[in-house]
C-alpha cells in the first residue's frame, strides 16, 4: 500500500475513532440518566408510582440497548485503530469476533446468521490488519452474493498442516446450485480477494462441498 493510501486510511481511522468516543459520551449520559430514574424508582414507596413495573421494564430495555451500543462502538473504535500499526500481531480469534459484530448487519439483510468458531489455542500472526479485515469481509460478500436467503456463515480460524487458515464457511438446509463454484469465481469480489491475499503473501481456495472459502496466511509478513 502506498504512502498516500496509508495516510488516507489513517485519516479515516482517526476521525472514526474520535466519533466513537463522542457516541460513548452520549451513551454514558443516557446510561446515567436512566440509572438515575431507576434509583428514584427504587426509593419510591410501593403503590405510590403508577405503572412502576412498566417503567422498570422499559428502563431494562434501555440498559440492554446501551450495552449493545457500547459493544458496537467499542468494536468500531478498535476497527478504526486498525491502520495505526502495520504489520501488527493479530489474534485471529479477535479479528473474526470483530468482523462478526461489524458485518452482521450485512448478513442479516439476507437472513444469514454470522458466527465464529474460535481456535483453541488462539492463533497469532503478524500481518496487515486492514488487508486482513478486507479479505474476511470480501469473503463474506462473495458468499452473500452467490447464496439465496437464510443459513449461516461461520468464520473459523484454524491450522491446517501447520498453515494458518481463516475459513469462511456456509451452511444451509437448502442445497446450493451446482454451478456455485463458477459463480464464486466470476464475482467481482473474487478478483479483489485474490489481490488482497497476494498482498498478504497468502493464497485463497474454495472447497465446494461445505462450501468454504479458505484464506491461507503466512505466520509473518513484511509490509
Amino acid at each position: 500500500m502506498n504512502h498516500l493510501k496509508r495516510k488516507e486510511l489513517a485519516f479515516f481511522g482517526k476521525i472514526t475513532a474520535g466519533i466513537t468516543h463522542e457516541i460513548k459520551n452520549v451513551l454514558a449520559i443516557i446510561q446515567e440518566s436512566s440509572g438515575l430514574m431507576e434509583d428514584i424508582l427504587d426509593i419510591t414507596e410501593n403503590g405510590t408510582f403508577p405503572h412502576k413495573d412498566k417503567f422498570i421494564k422499559s428502563l431494562n430495555r434501555i440498559h440492554g440497548q446501551i450495552q449493545r451500543g457500547i459493544d458496537i462502538s467499542s468494536r468500531l473504535n478498535r476497527f478504526a485503530h486498525s491502520p495505526d500499526h502495520s504489520p501488527a500481531s493479530l489474534d485471529l480469534n479477535e479479528i473474526t469476533e470483530q468482523m462478526i459484530l461489524l458485518a452482521s448487519r450485512f448478513t442479516r439483510l439476507k437472513n444469514v446468521v454470522l458466527e465464529s468458531s474460535p481456535s483453541d489455542p488462539p492463533l497469532i500472526i503478524k500481518s496487515d490488519p486492514v488487508s486482513l479485515e478486507m479479505a474476511l469481509f470480501e469473503s463474506i460478500e462473495i458468499l452473500l452474493s452467490v447464496i439465496g436467503s437464510g443459513g449461516r456463515i461461520t468464520l473459523s480460524p484454524r491450522k491446517i498442516q501447520d498453515k494458518f487458515v481463516l475459513g469462511i464457511g456456509y451452511e444451509n438446509t437448502v442445497l446450493l446450485e451446482e454451478d456455485f463454484l463458477s459463480k464464486i469465481s466470476s464475482t467481482e469480489h473474487w478478483a479483489s480477494l485474490q489481490e488482497i491475499m497476494a498482498s498478504l503473501g497468502g493464497t485463497v481456495k474454495v472447497f465446494g462441498l461445505a462450501p468454504e472459502i479458505l484464506l491461507y496466511l503466512p505466520e509473518s509478513i513484511n509490509v
Binding site: H21, N25, E32, S33, L36, I66
Partner: protein
C-alpha cells in the same frame, strides 16, 4: 459516619451532573467541575477525598490535572475515566499516582466499589 467527599471532573456537563445526583442519592458529598482548571480550584479550596477524573478533556488533560493534584496533596485519591482503546492512559495514570481507572461508560456499582477502596487506601 462522615459522608464521602468526591469531586467529579468531566467536560460532559450532563454526564457529571447526572452522576453526581446518583452519588448524592447514595449519601455522598459531591462537587463537580467540567475542566481541569476548575477542578484544581475545587481541590485547593475544598479538598475532596477522591477525584473521579476524565482523561480526555479540552485544555488541561486528565493526566496533567492528576499530576497537579498529586503535587498539591498526595493523599487525595484519583480514579481516572478512560475510553475503550485508551487503557494506556489508565496505566500511565496509575504510574503517575492514580488509584485506579475505569472505562467509560461506567457501572455505578463498580464506581462505588472503587470509591470505597480508594477512601480505605487513604489510610
Amino acid at each position: 459516619m462522615d459522608r464521602m467527599k468526591i469531586l467529579l471532573v468531566d467536560d460532559e456537563h450532563e454526564f457529571v451532573t447526572t452522576l453526581a445526583e446518583r452519588l448524592e442519592l447514595r449519601n455522598m458529598n459531591v462537587s463537580i467541575a467540567t475542566d481541569g482548571e476548575a477542578a484544581l480550584g475545587v481541590v485547593e479550596n475544598d479538598p475532596p477525598q477522591v477525584v473521579v477524573l476524565d482523561v480526555m478533556m479540552p485544555g488541561l488533560s486528565g493526566l496533567e490535572v492528576l499530576e497537579k493534584i498529586k503535587g498539591m496533596d498526595s493523599k487525595i485519591q484519583v480514579i481516572l475515566l478512560t475510553g475503550h482503546g485508551a487503557t494506556k492512559d489508565g496505566i500511565r495514570g496509575m504510574q503517575l499516582g492514580a488509584f485506579d481507572y475505569l472505562i467509560k461508560p461506567i457501572d455505578i456499582d463498580e464506581l462505588i466499589e472503587k470509591l470505597n477502596e480508594a477512601v480505605k487506601n487513604m489510610g
